[in-house]
């Protein structure tokens, strides 16, 4: 059945379809309507879950760590300040190998206060051991949240599904809502191998000495290395049942392109439309949409990045003192693999500044006409 719903409603319906058992969340714009919708679904009994109404995001994640340790399926959603407040506990979740799913509705970090979008909030959590996916449509949000539970539970890794505040969270689109029976076929109840169990008492996350800690981290890294296969298998199963397919990186018009933009989230969909228009006037532009940030899709990106094409990276984020986070990560994999491709770095759309079709067109022309001066960071639409 198709329904016209917002991005936040898509996330909420996915939580219901995934038969989540414990939810804990704290309101923050632009996530709030998820907390409201899920309260409503739990209140009406449509979703048989316990919604723990906590007093902070730190407590929301702490609650899910406790709940997930008993073996049940858990969910939370937040934005910006809330995600930052969870920071300490994000490490606890991944270190304890708990398959918690978190939706982050991307919002810029204060100061100064803003409720508008950029992706610095979730990208700043890159070292916490969460899988990270970025969506560009409401359908993709619904599908990604359902897949996230399956992927997280197979890998014993927590997972973050991110999408842009307002641009996506509050925009209404037609979304195909799958049948519950089909989702049940795809996503069986969680079967936790380890859980708090009085019949088999064990201690979880206790003090660890140098003799063991590194091996525990090594296993965490190995789980991330195994993730691409598990993710692809899961997408394959999802495609078979629901007829929609996903991958870590999605190429559009890249085969014969002279200039390609790497982008994620709503900026990627703007870029997609800009590139279609450019193609109509004969400009050979292309798009690589980054759907997955952790694990960073090294293999996939390397298969698309070609020395004869010029690249621009659009970062809707800033790591002050270095530049765009995604640009840094791309340079790192290029260097690690001895691939000589120069990339142009563009900082755009911070704090909800619109990224327009004209912005993208300008960026791609600049990339195409670039004469090799790659060092500076290009600020898009900066006022004097």
């Amino acid at each position: 059945m198709k329904r016209v719903i917002s991005g936040n409603e898509a996330a909420s319906l996915a939580v219901k379809l995934s038969r989540v058992q414990v939810i804990s969340a704290y309101p923050i714009t632009p996530q709030t309507t998820i907390a409201e919708k899920l309260s409503e679904l739990c209140g009406s009994g449509e979703l048989d879950a316990k919604f723990v109404k906590v007093e902070s995001e730190h407590s929301a994640m702490a609650t899910l760590i406790g709940a997930s340790s008993t073996g049940v399926r858990t969910f939370t959603a937040t934005s910006a300040q809330g995600l930052a407040l969870m920071h300490e506990l994000l490490f606890w979740a991944s270190g304890a190998r708990l398959p918690i799913v978190l939706v982050d509705v991307n919002r810029a970090m204060a100061a100064p206060w803003t409720i508008w979008c950029d992706q610095t909030d979730s990208l700043a959590q890159r070292d916490t051991g969460f899988l990270q996916f970025y969506c560009w449509s409401n359908q993709e949000i619904l599908d990604s949240v359902i897949c996230a539970f399956k992927i997280a539970e197979k890998l014993l890794l927590p997972c973050m599904v991110c999408y842009d505040g307002f641009y996506i969270s509050h925009t209404h689109e037609a979304v195909e809502i799958p049948e519950q029976s089909d989702v049940d076929k795809f996503l069986p109840p969680r079967d936790a191998e380890y859980r708090l169990d009085t019949k088999d008492p064990r201690t979880f996350s206790g003090g660890t000495l140098p003799a063991n800690f590194m091996e525990i981290r090594y296993k965490l890294q190995k789980a991330f290395e195994k993730a691409p296969d598990v993710i692809n298998t899961t997408y394959g199963e999802f495609d078979k049942l629901f007829g929609r397919s996903y991958s870590a990186v999605e190429p559009y018009y890249t085969d014969d392109a002279e200039a390609v933009l790497l982008a994620s989230g709503s900026a990627a969909s703007t870029a997609f439309h800009a590139i279609r228009k450019m193609r109509q006037s004969g400009i050979k532009a292309g798009l690589l949409r980054l759907r997955q940030f952790r694990p960073f899709p090294e293999k996939e990106l390397l298969s698309y990045l070609k020395p004869n094409i010029k690249y621009g990276v659009l970062d809707r984020d800033l790591s002050p003192g270095t530049g765009g986070v995604i640009a840094q990560e791309i340079r790192a994999i290029l260097n690690r693999n001895n691939v000589r491709i120069d990339i142009n770095e563009f900082i755009a759309g911070l704090g909800g500044r619109d990224i327009t079709v004209d912005n993208v067109t300008e960026i791609l022309l600049k990339v195409r006409d670039d004469k090799g001066d790659k060092l500076q960071i290009n600020w898009v639409g900066l006022k004097n």
Binding site: S56, A62, G66, T70, L89, L196
Partner: protein, 307 residues
């Protein structure tokens, strides 16, 4: 209270409780042993950073005879609420969730979440083992540290001057079913209170007196003696508050001078006679107030045998 409230599963006599790494004379391990003895094996513990967490054992060793979840320092209350929610959603409503936290985790970094789970009346037993400072990090002041006490962050010349925070009143203000204090020197009273807490549902808060020889600069052999003196001098009165309304003193003390208690511990060695007189006045004032509350609500004396 009724002795029959005590179940006698002698849980820990069978399961053992040896191999922990607590210091000699540590109150916390004595308390945990007796609390678990009453609660029995159908219990899950959540514990934050602090001595209790560290002395349970270092991976892969653990002393706990029941499932034990370590949490972040400020996260035990919410963590326990999550365990409760998960157990309830997986058909294990009968399992007791025990949050086991130090005074730092309770009075300070975890107070917000603690207040939240109390306000929601979560079905949890929360025990604060109160050793009156951050002991695990090497004796720094907490808001449970009594005035006049030495700690590494309240050194001589800058002894703690603020009074200890009245956490029991704060908790009672949430109108939770049960608040109680208990001491390892009065084990019958302690075990009956744990049994009573177990029988109730909703949020139950117990604050247990937990001597700490290295932190208090006391003789490990004196832990129980000074715990008894704390009660007898009214520094640590034993009482219950039900539904935030009904106060009852559990024990009528002999009212020994506070100086006798204070002089058992090096942490009070910088106090002058004047300081001790001031502490005596403050203790008398607090105790009289407590007594007036409990008289108003009907006094019920229990007899504890002297040993």
């Amino acid at each position: 209270m009724d002795r029959e409230l005590l179940n006698d599963n002698d849980f820990l006599r069978d399961s053992g409780f040896c191999g922990h790494t607590a210091c000699p004379g540590c109150g916390e391990k004595i308390l945990l042993r007796h609390v678990l003895d009453v609660l029995g094996p159908e219990t899950v513990i959540a514990a934050p950073a602090g001595c209790a967490a560290v002395t349970d054992g270092i991976f892969p060793h653990t002393v706990s005879p029941v499932p034990f979840l370590h949490t972040a320092f400020g996260a035990v209350a919410s963590g326990a609420a999550g365990v409760r929610a998960g157990l309830d959603m997986s058909g294990r409503e009968n399992v007791t969730v025990l949050a086991w936290a130090g005074d730092g985790a309770t009075f300070d970094i975890g107070l917000g979440p603690l207040s939240a789970i109390a306000e929601r009346n979560e079905n949890i037993i929360y025990v604060c083992y109160d050793n009156e400072a951050y002991m695990n990090t090497g004796v720094q002041r907490s808001s449970a540290t009594p005035s006049g006490s030495w700690t590494t962050t309240t050194p001589s010349g800058r002894l703690k001057s603020e009074p200890k925070k009245n956490i029991d009143l704060i908790m009672a203000s949430h109108k939770i079913p049960y608040v109680a204090t208990a001491s390892p020197a009065f084990l019958d009273d302690l075990k009956m209170k744990v049994a009573k807490a177990k029988r109730l549902t909703g949020f139950r808060f117990l604050r247990l007196f937990s001597p700490c020889p290295p932190g208090w600069k006391s003789d490990p052999a004196d832990s129980i003696t000074l715990a008894r003196l704390a009660v007898e001098s009214n520094i640590f009165p034993l009482f219950e508050i039900e539904d935030g309304e009904r106060w009852s003193l559990s024990y009528e003390s002999s009212g020994v001078p506070v100086a006798r208690y204070l002089k058992t511990q090096g942490r009070f060695r910088y106090l002058s006679d004047d300081d001790m007189a001031r502490i005596q006045r403050e203790t008398d004032r607090d105790y009289n107030r407590l007594k007036s509350l409990h008289q108003y609500n009907g006094y019920q004396k229990i007899v504890v045998e002297e040993q």
